[in-house]
């Protein structure tokens, strides 16, 4: 069972370059998320999606765009990379849930360095 798969695992960019991170999940989850993780700051939500064709902003959306054209895929794009976007990016997915909050299933992360 693959679960949540992120590609690429590592990438080095120069300032101003663009790139796309791909997330694929095979659990038929409705919800998908993109987080970034920086030392001492835990995980911060960039964008999320509650279903195919829908996206919404999280805590730190500036400089990123997302698309959810297929239920199983969630793409994160950087149009013009900046050094402040150097981070480890995690994709996650979950089923809808009530007040208890659903379990998030995470990918292994994508380490991005912007020079």
């Amino acid at each position: 069972n693959a679960g949540v798969t992120q590609t690429p695992k590592f990438r080095v960019l120069k300032t101003g370059q663009s790139m796309t991170l791909l997330c694929a999940q095979d659990m038929n989850h409705e919800y998908m998320y993109w987080y970034r993780q920086d030392p001492g700051m835990g995980l911060r939500l960039i964008h999320y999606s509650v279903g195919e064709g829908t996206t919404a902003k999280g805590e730190v959306p500036d400089g990123y765009n997302v698309s959810r054209l297929k239920k199983q895929n969630f793409l994160l794009g950087l149009e013009s990379a900046a050094p402040s976007q150097t981070s480890v990016y995690f994709c996650a997915s979950s089923f809808p849930s009530g007040g208890a909050g659903g379990e998030l299933f995470f990918g292994e992360g994508s380490r991005l360095t912007v020079l």
């Binding site: 999320y48 909050g101 990918g107």
Partner: protein, 114 residues
């Protein structure tokens, strides 16, 4: 913005010792989750606590949700090297918005030395 503060940020102990990690907020949460993350991997859910005052046990790990649902703690008894990792608490908002959005704490890095 709801904030979750974890303390301590880093904990280094010997095998067999006990440890406690704290997760505090000024906001009330519908529920709170604890995740553990190992190097090079994504976080994995350990437990969800829902009711104020709730205590859940997972082998040597004990999780408690504060009565007011603003704080939580994780206690590990007789820690083992396999408990080494980054522990993250995450709160589920009281606001019933779509998306299961979680607010994560900054994490506590635990190192258990043999």
């Amino acid at each position: 913005t709801q904030l979750l503060e974890q303390s301590p940020q880093f904990l280094s102990i010997q095998e067999g010792e006990n440890l406690t990690v704290y997760c505090n907020s000024s906001s009330v949460f519908s529920s709170l989750q604890w995740y553990r993350q190992e190097p090079g991997e994504g976080p994995v859910l350990l437990v969800t606590v829902v009711t104020g005052g709730e205590v859940k046990k997972l082998k040597r790990l004990t999780f408690q949700f504060g009565d007011a649902r603003k704080d939580s703690s994780l206690h590990i008894t007789a820690a083992q090297p396999g408990d080494t990792g980054l522990y993250l608490c995450a709160g589920v908002s009281m606001i019933k918005a779509a998306g299961n959005k979680l607010t994560f704490g900054g994490g506590t890095r635990v190192l258990v030395k043999p």
